[in-house]
């Protein structure tokens, strides 16, 4: 995902000298071409995320279109108040990019696991919140967030799921149908959507026909696709590599209950309000914390066979 983001951003930078990329001293080797080709559009502020975010706000006030970049929680939680007060309240054209969504940096430990960012960023007014699942979604959303001129958050992941063949089907604020189905809908975001596809493949052999939506834009949430899923498939399971409180599952649940689009059954899969302390790579930790395809299959069977 990271390489796709940089590729897309480099293309945009070539067209728009007001595009600025700021890093908080992370991305070894990743920005070599960008910084060589566009030295005036690249800035490494050092290990200083609060200042990175404030500088981004100031530059956006002067008409720049700024992307801030770091890993895990550094560009989000470390400087949360700067995002809230300086970027969001002033409605500035800044996109905050974090590489390392969920357990991407598995073995590095809890400090590097971005597992509450979706919940927390979602709570900030004016902020668009995105977590693409596939490479093509990363590219398309990078472009769309740049064009949107709104404060926004782009959560990138080390893993990715198989996505669509054409970028034209990807639209900010619109869920992407990855797979048609009529028995139940899995709504997911981020690379973990891959686990949903694996689960759907396994269950297909047992006669279950599952729909999968990539809800790459968590805010604003695509209500229409949820309505459709409730009407046409009856049940919803949400899947996210994030705390179960406040993230994608919460957003879908809030919408369903307040709009009276009540599914026949509803289940959320996410991290169960705990910190990770076990060492492991992303796949290991997904299984350990019961977010993997096995857990999805188990949950769906239990729901559909009730």
């Amino acid at each position: 995902m990271r390489d796709a983001f940089i590729e897309e951003l480099t293309d945009i930078a070539a067209e728009d000298p007001n595009l600025i990329l700021i890093t908080g001293d992370l991305g070894f080797g990743v920005f070599d071409d960008f910084s060589k080709n566009f030295p005036n559009q690249f800035l490494n502020v050092g290990v200083a995320e609060q200042n990175m975010t404030m500088v981004a706000a100031g530059m956006a006030m002067e008409g720049k279109k700024v992307f801030t970049y770091s890993i895990g929680n550094f560009p989000t939680l470390r400087c949360l108040e700067q995002i809230r007060n300086d970027i969001c309240y002033h409605d500035l054209n800044v996109t905050i990019v974090s590489i390392g969504g969920g357990f991407s940096y598995g073995q590095l430990g809890m400090s590097h696991h971005a597992t509450e960012d979706l919940s927390i960023m979602r709570a900030l007014p004016n902020l668009l919140v995105t977590a693409p699942s596939s490479i093509l979604e990363v590219k398309r959303l990078t472009q769309e967030l740049y064009e949107s001129s709104c404060p926004s958050y782009l959560r990138l992941d080390k893993s990715h799921a198989k996505g669509p063949k054409k970028a034209s089907s990807i639209q900010l604020g619109k869920a992407l149908k990855i797979r048609e189905g009529k028995d139940l809908t899995i709504i997911s975001c981020g690379g973990i959507l891959h686990e949903a596809i694996k689960a759907a493949d396994l269950l297909e052999k047992e006669g279950f026909d599952l729909r999968i939506l990539s809800m790459h834009t968590i805010k604003p949430l695509d209500h229409y696709s949820i309505d459709e899923a409730v009407k046409e498939t009856g049940g919803i399971i949400t899947l996210e590599e994030n705390n179960i409180l406040g993230g994608l599952g919460s957003a879908v649940a809030e919408y369903c209950l307040t709009s009276n689009q009540i599914p026949n059954f509803f289940h959320r899969i996410g991290i169960k309000d705990e910190y990770s302390s076990v060492v492991g790579d992303q796949n290991f930790l997904r299984d350990y914390y019961k977010l993997g395809s096995f857990e999805i299959v188990r949950a769906i069977k239990s729901l559909l066979q009730k």
Partner: protein
């Protein structure tokens, strides 16, 4: 820049507005406004290239009040200079008003940045100054900090950044009245040697009397290849004898006799 402005008169009017506004709304921080009134008067009256008829003029200088709790002072000076009618100041701190206790830009022409949480202004000023430098624009960025605010680590990130990038279009002004929220700066978290700290971080530092208009103007006019910090030695509550150097007036709003006495003292000054 404004012509023929009597900065002493402007400072007096900022102070009188501050007394009125804090009395009417029952708000805090009158001491913090009185402390910086002279700085605001010289900055707005003599230095800033701004236009009240076009508050979004793209080539304007930028002023950020990082010590947002003294927002009443900025509303007052903007009203005095014609950014909006003076009469609106009576709405400060009132239900339904746009003039919040900590300065907010929404709906208020001339306010560049909403602040209130300390340690935000200088970093945003760095971004403004860096962008102007990239665009080879002449405009300058001024940011006014409180002394207590310098406890915030985010400022020191921005202080490092400014000198590293040689932001000579950036001016930080510290209202060094030596009293913070609960007690003196010295007792709370000592900043001394303050001048030497800024110098060690690569800034041009000018240490002045923050109530002497000539000194303020002269310091603001000094050219430097480095970012410039003007340490303004001030008196919290300046201009009202019973508020001067008294931490109580960080929070208390003047009422009844206190109000009458404060207005009388300022008018007779």
């Amino acid at each position: 820049m404004f012509k023929n402005i009597d900065t002493s008169e402007l400072a007096k009017r900022i102070r009188l507005h501050a007394i009125n506004m804090t009395m009417l709304g029952g708000s805090s921080h009158v001491g913090s406004v009185l402390s910086m009134a002279d700085i605001l008067a010289v900055l707005y009256g003599k230095i800033l290239k701004i236009n009240p008829k076009d508050s979004n003029w793209k080539d304007r200088d930028k002023f950020i009040l990082s010590k947002g709790h003294a927002g009443a002072g900025v509303y007052a000076v903007l009203a005095e200079l014609g950014f909006f009618p003076v009469d609106l100041l009576k709405n400060h701190y009132k239900n339904g008003s746009i003039f919040s206790g900590h300065v907010s830009h929404r709906g208020v022409p001339g306010v560049e940045l909403s602040t209130g949480s300390l340690g935000h202004g200088l970093g945003v000023a760095c971004g403004l100054a860096y962008a102007s430098k990239l665009d080879r624009k002449e405009k300058k960025v001024y940011v006014l900090l409180s002394d207590g605010e310098c406890d915030e680590g985010s400022n020191w990130e921005a202080i490092l950044f400014s000198s590293h990038h040689k932001l000579k279009n950036l001016v930080a002004i510290v209202d060094y009245n030596k009293i913070q929220s609960l007690a003196s700066v010295e007792e709370t978290l000592n900043l001394e040697p303050f001048v030497e700290k800024w110098e060690a971080f690569g800034w041009k530092v000018i240490d002045i009397d923050g109530h002497n208009h000539q000194e303020i103007e002269k310091a603001l006019m000094v050219n430097s290849e480095k970012p410039k910090c003007i340490i303004c030695n001030t008196i919290k509550g300046k201009g009202v004898s019973f508020m001067e150097n008294n931490v109580l007036w960080h929070y208390r709003s003047p009422k009844g006799e206190e109000y009458e006495r404060a207005v009388k003292e300022l008018n007779n000054a």
